[in-house]
């Protein structure tokens, strides 16, 4: 309901931290239905979905019986495994199986939705009836009978997760744990979270579409606790792809662990961060969350269609500096934000959102496409069959620039060098955003110097993109979890090293 902060974070957080987002309505009585963490998904093992075509056709017919111009059925099954290693012990192993189907009806600007855990004729028919509630006075159409369509695949698998023995999963965790603890004697604890899932999807709609696929997902998180004199730092490094188990050959668990441990130790020497406006350099990779929040969310079609988004009416206009080009691309092979088609069945695409500072496109789902009279960009995504699709980002990044990242640093006299960000949030209407730095350094005379403690960056999205004055040639990506309207989506954020002139930094030390 209404405005919720849109946020992005690098790992799934515990419940009490989720509660720190203001404005959302949490139905305390049904946490299982309303707030599913990543570890809460599932699917029957080895049961390839086979939903009867005529059942899908009947459901769509039923959904449009009272009226409405569009209906779809989304059938999902998921099998998940998550294993936690902490204090060198395998503390828990969780296995999840879940399946269900959601039926949606669109009538004008109205959406009706209902879902069922059981994929039976009776339950689907009941869901269709509930979903059709909104279409009482809408116009009527005759749905097109569905036929199977093929979609290009952007997810390649060499070693399928289905064939991986649990032993292999434990093995990558042990390797990471060992390297983290061996890195330095001040590393007192490592936490290794392993998660994988296989999600099967079948989508059918009143336009005659029928598509289905099966997507593997891996998420590997290493957190390390560094303990120094009167100080502690918990750091983390993550690896996530839609891919087979070969992910761990391409990036080893040791590399991930080493990255986390390095940060834990480096930050033990951190001093209080300065407060006030200053120039900020953000290192390549996951730092792209800044534009994910500050620019990405405000470019999602739903708030634009409601004419309340910060970028409403700015299509074709200059909104950013000349060096700023931003892209959302769901087709980058095996990335965490990549799928073959979105959760409405639309083929994934490479969408240039801002080119050389000029606004080109909004990201849409089927509903906002209709409202805005624009193309379908393949951004209609949902957390599970329990949620309606909404416009979401996939892999979102600032395009590669021309500058050498070392030159960018050398030409910055004074400021803050942000090596990694935890996450942040944005108000999509006003465009006010904030970010929390996890690893940051002072810049003095063009050099990285003292590490500084977790500072906040805050400002307005329009200022950020107009004040970006240097873009490096070192584009990289990082995996994350994006939250919007109570739904979580797997995304990547990326960028080359960039410099932004004048961001408000929240440290506890007055500037000297």
């Amino acid at each position: 309901m209404g405005i919720k902060d849109y946020f992005v974070e690098d790992i799934p957080r515990r419940k009490f931290l989720e509660m720190s987002f203001k404005g959302g309505i949490v139905l305390a009585a049904t946490p299982a239905l309303m707030s599913q963490l990543v570890s809460c998904k599932g699917q029957a093992p080895g049961t390839k979905m086979d939903v009867d075509k005529s059942l899908l056709n009947e459901t769509i017919q039923k959904a449009l019986q009272k009226g409405g111009e569009f209906a779809d059925v989304y059938v999902e099954n998921r099998i998940t495994r998550s294993i936690k290693m902490e204090e060198s012990k395998f503390k828990s192993a969780q296995f999840g199986i879940s399946q269900g189907a959601g039926v949606r009806v669109i009538s004008g600007d109205k959406t009706g939705y209902a879902y069922t855990d059981e994929i039976t004729k009776e339950k689907l028919s009941r869901a269709a009836e509930v979903a059709s509630y909104v279409a009482k006075e809408g116009k009527q159409i005759q749905p097109v009978s569905i036929s199977k369509q093929e979609r290009k695949s952007f997810v390649t698998v060499k070693t399928p997760l289905q064939g991986i023995a649990d032993k292999k999963r434990l093995e990558v965790m042990k390797r990471a744990n060992q390297v983290a603890l061996d890195y330095d004697k001040r590393i007192k604890m490592a936490t290794i979270d392993y998660y994988d899932e296989i999600r099967g999807r079948t989508i059918a709609n009143s336009e005659g579409l029928l598509v289905s696929d099966e997507l593997p997902l891996l998420f590997f998180i290493v957190q390390t606790l560094g303990v120094g004199k009167n100080t502690r730092h918990m750091s983390r490094k993550r690896l996530s792809r839609h891919s087979g188990f070969e992910m761990f050959d391409e990036v080893t668990p040791e590399e991930v662990a080493q990255g986390a441990a390095r940060e834990s130790i480096a930050m033990l020497d951190a001093q209080d961060a300065p407060a006030g406006m200053m120039d900020v350099i953000i290192e390549n990779g996951w730092g792209g969350v800044l534009v994910h929040e500050a620019v990405g969310h405000p470019l999602e079609g739903d708030n634009i269609a409601k004419k309340i988004g910060a970028f409403t009416g700015k299509l074709g206009k200059k909104v950013a500096s000349d060096v700023f080009t931003m892209i959302d691309d769901g087709t980058l092979t095996n990335k965490r934000g990549t799928t073959n088609f979105d959760d409405e069945g639309t083929q994934m695409k490479r969408n240039v959102l801002i080119k050389d500072g000029v606004l080109q496109k909004y990201m849409t789902d089927i509903l906002s496409t209709k409202q805005l009279n624009m193309e379908r960009t393949g951004n209609g995504r949902r957390q599970s069959f329990r949620n309606i699709p909404i416009p979401r980002m996939t892999n979102t990044f600032i395009a590669k620039g021309k500058e050498d990242p070392e030159d960018i640093l050398a030409s910055t006299k004074k400021g803050l060098y942000v090596q990694s960000l935890s996450g942040g949030s944005v108000n999509p209407i006003t465009g006010m955003f904030n970010f929390t730095c996890r690893e940051a350094y002072l810049i003095e005379n063009g050099k990285k110097t003292t590490p500084v403690k977790g500072a906040t960056l805050t400002g307005s999205c329009m200022d950020i993109i107009s004040n970006t004055d240097a873009v490096g040639n070192d584009l990289d990506f990082g995996p994350g979890i994006c939250g919007k309207s109570g739904q979580r989506a797997e995304v990547t954020a990326g960028q080359p090293t960039v410099r932004i002139r004048g961001i408000n930094v929240g440290g506890s030390k007055a500037r000297g």
Binding site: K22, A28, I83, G431, N434
Partner: protein, 444 residues
Amino acid sequence: MDYKTLSQQLVKKCLDKGADAAEVYIQSGRHLSIDVRNGDIETVEESSSGGAGFRVFKKGRMAFSSCNDFSDKSLENAVKSAVQFARNTTSDKHNVLPQQKGKSEVEKIYDPGIQKVPMEKKIELAKKVEKLAMKDSRITKSAGSGYGEGEAEVFLANSHGLSKSYKSSSCSFGVSVVAEKGDQKSSGSEYCSRRFYEDLKDPQGIAEKAAQNAYGMLDPQMVKTQKAAVIFDPDVARAILGGILGAVNGERVLQGASFLQDKMGKKIASDLVTLIDDGLRPRGMASQPFDGEGVPTLKRTIMEKGVLKGFMYNTIVAHRAGVESTGNASRGGFRGVPGIGPHNFYMDTGEYTPEEIIEATPSGLLLKGVTGYGINPVNGHFSGGASGFWIENGKIAFPVKGLTIAGTAHQMLHAIDMVGNDLDLNRSFTSPTFRIKSMQIGGE
């Protein structure tokens, strides 16, 4: 379906398949949500669903599985998966299940009347709150209003013979609006959640507060980077409480990952700070008769007049610490193992009205919005984005946006020098208005 009997049968099934001890957690529920914008329905969602979670122990090794399908085949498959998965974990003598029978008395957490209120009346409530919020001429657009409700029933059984259940409900409504002036946009929202439909507040008050939150922030000014007093509105209480909650988590304490790990019985905040965790409050949004693994809940003092009095434990972590569970096993539904979490967690009331606190402040920030992660539970650092009103000579002078505030938990908790009398216990995670004497504020 008789889930109580089923949960007991499934515990037995786990033991038959090779578990030494087992717990079955079944949840079933339904929810409805209605979104309205510009006087018309935007979305209606309604569904009922449920599922079962299996926690099994084999030679001290713990594993878990869940499924949302109650067919015999699926349940059997889930039980087998859990028992098999237990081969992978490390044996630990602390991996035990609770034995506490009985439930705590908690009144009025289920309203059978919510279902009986007609759909049209609920839609009307959402439409009305939007209409009222749009009345103010400074409000230019609606970002939507809505109504939501949910009911759930939990059944828990374990191999120590525990078999318990309870029902709960909640309902809520709220609205978000936008105020525009020239190029400026400002949004504001407000909502109300209750266990009982009849307890929902009057839409007039909700609408007014949403509108005020939006137009009140138009024409913000910047202030200089400085140290000044910061008054925390109850809306931003969680910015401070969240980090404390993370730091009193018994497991984090044992791991040496809490800034409060060696502070038990010590003075860590000013005399004015008392923190309570209450699982028993009648009609409380986070009240329940037993926690996520069946331990009866309590009302506990976590901090008394600035002295740290208690950490929070579930059964496994309590066993490891050599103490009793505090009834703080938290469970996000049937799909995961219990963690550690609060019930109704709040800072106790003080003696001043919020107006008196403002009047007593020569210069400072009345904090209405804060962004970021709050206090870092590991090391106590705090840094966040801030918005609200600037106070000059004891009066609200102008709105401020895009500021930052920062400090450490140690400095901030000791510097709380005024606490308000405006505690609203209908919220589950809250505080009265309170003032921190001095904090670093980042601006121009």
